[in-house]
Amino acid sequence: MESAIDAVVNIAVPLVLLAVAFFTGRRIERRHYQSIRARENELRMLPAVTFRQIPSAWVVDSFGVVSGSVVISIDYFKRFLAGLRTLVGGRVASYESLLDRARREAILRCKEEAHARGYQAVVNLRLETTRVTRASKNNRATAGVEVLAFGTGLELRRDPR
């Protein structure tokens, strides 16, 4: 009897979690992409570039370091899919979209800080990606991924475009 309950718990709980995660994860990702696209459009006038030097034609009034970061996690369903993928190899699409969201979000936050501080451009933008692990020993899974975007915000006398 006890083993039957155990079996049900061991199989049913992960299945329910998978089903729930499938819907919540998809919803969260779709909403996030909507928000990313809308904000990217709003901040289109503020270019963030990877130039190491400030173009000589730009007259800089003031500057400062700006940064944006985000830690996001993949959902249980996608982690399960990624686990299956490692059996056959190939593109792990679930992690690709996670990293894409994280990078775009970090760049957006960096640009938002630049905008709030009155800068019109960000130069020498850099991206750093780190895996964030959880403290608990029995769970060796990645808690999430952190992306940091940083650069130098510039207040320009003339519009850069």
Partner: protein, 104 residues
Amino acid sequence: MLLSTTEGIPGRTIKRFFGVVSGSTVRSKHIGRDIMAGIKNIFGGELTGYTELLQESREDALARMIQEAESLGANAVVNLRFATSSITQGAAELFAYGTAVQVE
């Protein structure tokens, strides 16, 4: 203290170099944040607690770097970089480094 991720300070010339300055901090999360992260690991989404923690720690590392630069007599740090490494389960090192200089 002027900070820049570019190789020079816009519109100023560098008079003196003091070499590399750095600041670092190693932080771990507290259990409450870890539990929240565990829940988010099922549903997906942003781990706001971690984002804030890492951002605060990075500011600490930056403050330590600035302190070192000030003690050398520098008034600016150029080519500033940040690095993060997960050194062990549940702990991360936040590192900020750059070149301390004196500009006019």
